[in-house]
């Protein structure tokens, strides 16, 4: 009975949230995909040590390593003790806050945004476990298009990251352009997603979701995957110069994500804003 009530109330909350997000703005589009929204709004196991979350946590290690490398490289390879403390980061589609917390621990002042109330709730609850992080990391339940409407957030962030998010949104090109608005001139953008290839269909949907259950079933929609060339174009159209496209691969035996020479499945991209 209780759980039934809870589900009902959650549904109400989520529908309100969706209305709240879409209503009252003059935007002509929304990056929210209704189906994905409902899917993620039900998901609260971001921080559980379950087989289905392991690849994401493993990937998080690699992507932070990648981001760190390019942030340092962008600073001419110099790391002063408070280099990261002076950086402002934006995590678009923060989910349960896995990436936001990592960036916070590195020292960056991080803002994590996500449209789903459930993800923000999980992220805020988990953040309270580390009292030092509370000062570093903030969460906001919003979309990127709503965020950049506020002038305060335009041209504000040293870098923005949207890792494993773009394959879950509508209007992908507009989504990247909106992220670009939040980044400072000469700031960096980090994106990661899956390529639309046969290999990615086999590995990420057939093998990881259906056969082995590494990833919760229904997480991915192959039609929404983006090929590196397409993303490259999107990023360049948004005013960035692409510095690197790096492939990655999950290695289940030692539960590690490793750099991979080709970008047929998972890949990350880093771009530098020109103006």
């Amino acid at each position: 009975m209780f759980s039934h009530n809870l589900t009902l109330s959650l549904r109400r909350v989520s529908s309100q949230a969706k209305r709240g997000v879409t209503r009252g703005s003059t935007r002509s589009f929304s990056s929210i995909n209704e189906e994905e929204f409902d899917n993620f709004n039900r998901y609260d196991k971001w921080w559980k040590d379950s087989p289905e979350m392991r690849p994401l946590h493993a990937y998080n290690k690699l992507r932070v390593e990648f981001m760190r490398e390019y942030l340092i490289q962008d600073n001419d390879g110099v790391v002063t003790p408070d280099f990261f403390n002076n950086l402002k980061a934006l995590d678009v589609g923060s989910g349960g806050g896995i990436l936001s917390e990592s960036l916070g621990r590195l020292g960056c002042q991080t803002l994590g945004i996500d449209p789903t109330p459930m993800s923000i709730k999980v992220a805020k609850e988990h953040l309270c476990n580390d009292l030092e992080l509370v000062e570093k990391v903030k969460y906001k339940q919003t979309t990127i298009e709503e965020l950049v409407e506020d002038e305060e957030h335009q041209n504000k962030y040293d870098f923005a990251a949207s890792m494993e998010v773009i394959e879950h949104v509508n209007n992908q090109a507009e989504f990247v352009k909106n992220i670009a608005k939040a980044v400072k001139p000469n700031g960096l953008i980090f994106l990661s997603t899956l390529a639309k290839t046969t290999e990615s269909w086999l590995l990420s949907i057939k093998l990881a979701e259906d056969l082995l259950g590494f990833v919760p079933r229904g997480t991915h929609n192959w039609d929404k995957y983006v090929n590196p060339e397409v993303l490259h174009e999107m990023v360049e159209n948004a005013g960035f110069r692409v510095l690197k496209t790096q492939g990655a691969m999950y290695e289940p035996i030692t539960n590690q994500m490793i750099y991979w020479p080709c970008t047929n499945v998972n890949y990350m991209m880093v771009g530098k804003k020109l103006y």
Partner: protein
């Protein structure tokens, strides 16, 4: 009434004043060398910068550390030329360190701070046994012997390992050094670093953190440390292990280890080890004519050896090394000696008795095997004797602990550079726990194989024991004439398989 009330209030306020709490990312508890080495490695990185209110690494220890000034005073500088009995009479444990450990210390910059005259590298190792005439000798020319070994060396050096193995003289097999020497240097490095706080206090309680929160350590003076990761470095009766409910198994080997500094008629060429029915006996070279004896013997024999006069003790040691094979292989004994020529085996120089020699007293301690079921758990990692304790037969213990320290430091640095939670088990400490346990199990298997394999009886069966010793002799012969196999063995015993190939703290950003 009012007075009473005030007094109560005063006491309460005093108590709260005394129990202030601090925060630290990593807290190392205890005196073992491995934990100190882990901190020293962590301090080499750009990470763990202290904040305004606290330092990020804390070392809590109760017993004082040895002082490094003992090893740098002018008397000891002269040791190779002039013998200084004061030094040896301290009777500190001497340990054999392999190449990986040397490399590790070098990467920390500790090797450069040590007194090199007190580190004795050895280039030869002779192993034989009492039941037969076969032997194996390792020496520094081993690698120059044939092209296959040379090729292997190149392959190993270039593909497997980025370390420079020629740091301590070409192709040295290892070195013998006083354990406190290493410890004192590492402790100095930790103490002098401003990123680390050192507290000499006893621990009152530890409250392990649940999954996501911090652990709490309360000290005797009421101070409270909140920490993300506790490293249990507090020896075999570890309180950290107990507080985290990590089970440990232990069993006595039923043997005692006798150590004593000996003086020989001339200096030793290398290490000598001989397998006796009662256990192995080994001589490790020290500077000059000195050597360190490590003799594993049964309880009764050990007691007897401790109590007999010096003359008899030295005689016994000489006899154990020089006594010929008393084993009769029947008609096979005629075949065996002719298998391969055995003329290049070197006997250790004789132990001589003198007034100086009798200043060093023999010491005996119980040999015990101990092992923690897990080497890590959420917010805790065990290292050093708290995690494992092994038989000295293969000289593994200390080197394995240093290897564990290298693995743990690597994992923590990797996790911290990715902004992860360093106390997290599944994504950080699990790797350490698995690798460290694997190394322990390997070493344990080797110890058992040596212990069971080199006895005169096999599980109480004399005939099988005899057959086994025959097989063993042939095995040793094959090994002796086969530099390829020997190179592999030397490679394994240098710790090159277990030790991490890359150190995170020496990596350039």
């Amino acid at each position: 009434m009012i007075n009473l009330g005030t007094r109560k209030w005063n006491r309460a306020s005093l108590r709260t004043c005394r129990s202030y709490s601090t925060y630290s990312d990593i807290t190392v508890v205890g005196n073992d060398t491995a934990g100190i080495a882990t901190i020293a490695a962590l301090l080499k990185t750009e990470l763990f910068q202290p904040s305004k209110s606290h330092k990020r690494i804390t070392l809590v220890h109760k017993a004082p550390f040895p002082s490094s000034s003992d090893y740098n005073n002018s008397d000891i500088q002269k040791i190779p030329d002039q013998d200084t009995p004061q030094y040896f009479s301290r009777q500190n444990p001497i340990t054999t360190i392999n190449f990986s450990t040397l490399q590790f210390l070098h990467s920390l910059g500790a090797l450069d701070k040590m007194n090199h005259k007190l580190i004795t590298p050895y280039k030869k190792l002779f192993v034989n046994e009492m039941f037969g005439k076969s032997y194996v000798s390792f020496n520094d020319q081993l690698i120059d012997q044939d092209f296959i070994s040379q090729f292997k060396q190149r392959v190993y050096n270039e593909t497997l390992s980025s370390h420079d193995y020629n740091y301590f003289g070409k192709n040295s097999l290892g070195a013998s050094v006083e354990r406190n020497h290493i410890q004192s240097i590492l402790y100095d490095m930790v103490r002098d670093d401003e990123k680390c706080e050192v507290i000499q206090q006893e621990i009152k309680t530890i409250r392990p953190g649940k999954d996501e929160s911090t652990s709490t350590i309360e000290l005797q003076d009421g101070r409270i440390i909140k920490t993300k990761l506790i490293i249990g470095n507090d020896g075999e009766n570890s309180y950290v292990r107990e507080a985290h409910d990590i089970e440990s198994t232990s069993h006595p080997y039923g043997q005692q280890c006798i150590t004593r500094t000996l003086i020989h008629e001339r200096s030793l060429e290398g290490c000598y080890q001989r397998f006796l029915p009662t256990g192995p006996i080994a001589l490790m070279p020290l500077w000059g004519n000195y050597s360190q004896l490590v003799w594993s013997a049964s309880d009764e024999l050990a007691e007897e050896l401790i109590s007999i006069p010096d003359e008899a003790f030295f005689g016994e040691v000489n006899r154990k090394f020089y006594e010929g094979s008393k084993y009769d292989f029947g008609r096979y004994s005629e075949i065996l000696p002719n298998f391969w020529p055995r003329d290049n085996y070197e006997m250790p120089p004789l132990v001589v008795n003198s007034n100086e020699a009798s200043q060093f007293r023999p010491r005996a301690y119980d040999l015990k095997s101990q092992s923690a079921i897990h080497h890590a758990d959420t917010r805790v990692a065990l290292i050093g004797d708290a995690a494992m304790k092994l038989h000295p037969i293969t000289a593994h213990g200390f080197n394995l602990n240093i290897t564990s320290a290298a693995i743990l430091a690597n994992e923590i640095i990797k996790q911290a550079r990715c902004g992860g939670d360093i106390g997290n088990y599944p994504f950080c400490l699990k790797n350490y726990a698995h690798l460290s346990k694997l190394n322990e199990l390997q070493a344990r298997a080797l110890v058992e194989a040596f212990k069971k394999g080199f006895q005169d009886t096999f599980f109480g069966n004399e005939k099988v024991g005899k057959a086994l010793s025959f097989v063993r002799n042939i095995g040793l012969d094959i090994l002796e004439v086969n530099p390829m196999l020997k190179y592999d063995l030397a490679f394994i015993s240098a710790g090159c398989i277990n030790h991490p190939l890359k150190y995170q703290w020496t990596e350039e950003l």
